[in-house]
Amino acid sequence: MRPILMKGHERPLTFLRYNRDGDLLFSCAKDHTPTLWYADNGERLGTYRGHNGAVWCCDISRDSSRLITGSADQTVKLWDVKSGKPYFTFKFGSPARSVDFAVGDKLAVITSDPFMERTSAIHVKRIAEDPEDQVADSVLVLQSPEGRMRINRAVWGPLNQTIVSGGEDAVIRIWDAETGKLLKESNEEDGHKKPITSLSKSADDSHFITGSLDKTAKLWDMRTLTLIKTYTSNVPVNAVSISPLLDHVVIGGGQDASAVTTTDHRAGKFEAKFYDKILQEEIGGVKGHFGPINALAFNPDGRSFSSGGEDGYVRLHHFDSDYFNIRI
């Protein structure tokens, strides 16, 4: 396959997200402008100007009309996807790390970093149907027991009943989205040994995968938080994604960005690695980035995927036919 290289960002990529129809791709980077691309040919459709800091995460509503972005400028913005104009800004006292729309797009979960004397927290905001009615109040605020540790990702569980979070303390937590009660925690034995960098749900919300700096990715049951599978890599994992089409997972990473210039280029291993979801066996790797992979996303049709690297490139890969016939 010949990947499409998209050079729209001047700083390292942080997050990639497809819309539900799989025709749009949103990219977030440490430069301040999230960018919208056509997911088939990689043409740039527009940029969202307004943030004043690194943009860590984004999510797109099911009807692809609204975009939410979380930024290090301590704000979360809601955007009109088509015009590229922000229509609401949530202000936090600390950088916003992750955002996720609930099913139905009536709620959004936002995580904020520990900053000064503030501790990390998970906020649930109501998203109004009409932009005019949007208010900034939180419906629910969850305080992590490890307040000084960052929460890197929080997503909605099945039917919006729970919130699943993972962060620097390497513990995965499931919260009740209604009451805010902590329901489950991953135990020391099964859980990650080092900070969790990414968390990604399966297409049907039945399970999710977490990637960690301990060089593993783990597959968990979303309701019971039982460890299903472990995928071992030889580099820290920064990004994970589950194929919606085949029983594959893709994990990406690479050595710490600060060590790239001090070691041999071969030591980096900046490739997106495909694993068989069930057999936990490595299927193959896709090379190309010049820096660690920070973001990975599968197209909802499972026939292409994109990766975003520390090198500022988004690489969009449409799979060849032989990918679909891989036998282990």
Binding site: T35, R266, G285
Partner: protein
């Protein structure tokens, strides 16, 4: 249009081209009609033919929307969205999106059907008996019995240092005093290693065996290594016996070396056997290298 220019070059010399191009201004502009409901698109172009006459070319094509098979109505609508943000005044030559010139493959960790390959090292070690697994020592990461050097997962990392890690040949056979090949992880400077040439003299062979090595000279031609072993082993544990053989004639050159585990044993052997009559010749037994003492 490319065809157009090709025709011109075949007819005119390039120097005349400019004048010719000017004529294009006289032509009516290109017209594109459609595509209409039935998908018919009409393109009307005008150009000069070889004789310099004006020609009207009408091209009718049927346009089919292949994309509609994959994209739903909403996505189709999004196709025609106007650009916004920085994408509005994007220069034509900025090339933000490029197709990789490099063909990227999904690199399989092992070729399909290569599963047998994986079991091979195991088979070999089984054939080699119990020692087989120990024999399989990776020279890069010093892991025993896990993989061969060529299959080392740390190969890439160690490639430049490989040269230094590589030990002098035969080190394993020398000096029990030296640290075992598997046991050391820390870097040892070459001058401190077991096989180091501390006297900066002597042949390669002598250098690697200078620990408790005894030289035996004035041996008879038909003395072989087992004979020397028989002669010397009553004095103590012998690690190596060597008799110099002439490569061309295949007969003994009349000298050899014996290595002892302990220095005392070697000293006793020298005391006892120097001047000892063996096979009608008088042996000369001495330290192989001049001792510092």
């Amino acid at each position: 249009m490319t065809i157009d220019s090709q025709q011109k070059t075949s007819k005119f010399r390039w120097g005349e081209m400019d004048e010719d191009d000017d004529l294009d201004f006289l032509l009516p502009p290109k017209q594109v009609i459609g595509p209409d409901e039935t998908g018919l698109k009409t393109v009307i172009e005008y150009k000069f033919n070889d004789e310099g006459n004006k020609v009207k070319i009408t091209t009718r094509t049927r346009v089919r929307k292949l994309a509609s098979a994959r994209l739903n109505k909403r996505a189709m609508e999004r196709r025609s969205w106007a650009k916004f943000g920085d994408a509005v005044n994007e220069e034509a030559g900025s090339h933000l999106t490029m197709v990789s010139t490099e063909e990227i493959l999904l690199e399989r960790p092992k070729a399909p059907g290569a599963k047998t390959d994986e079991t091979k090292p195991g088979d070999l070690s089984q054939l080699g008996g119990k020692g087989g697994a120990v024999l399989m020592v990776c020279r890069i990461c010093h892991k025993k019995g896990d993989h061969w050097t060529s299959k080392c997962p740390y190969k890439d990392l160690a490639a430049p240092t490989d040269v230094f890690v590589d030990k002098p040949p035969g080190e394993t056979s020398t000096a029990p005093a030296a640290p075992g090949p598997g046991g050391k992880a820390a870097y040892v400077p070459p001058s401190m290693r077991a096989g180091a040439d501390r006297n900066a003299a002597g042949s390669d062979m002598r250098r690697r065996n200078d620990e408790n090595s005894v030289r035996v000279t004035n041996l008879s031609e038909d003395t072989r290594e087992p004979d020397l072993m028989e002669l010397f082993h009553p004095f103590g544990a012998v690690t190596r016996v060597y008799v110099a053989i002439d490569q061309k004639t295949g007969v003994s050159r009349g000298f050899g070396f014996v290595n002892f585990v302990s220095r005392e044993d070697a000293q006793r052997a020298i005391n006892k056997l120097n001047g000892y009559g063996y096979d009608n010749l008088i042996l000369r037994v001495e330290w192989a290298t001049p001792r510092p003492t």
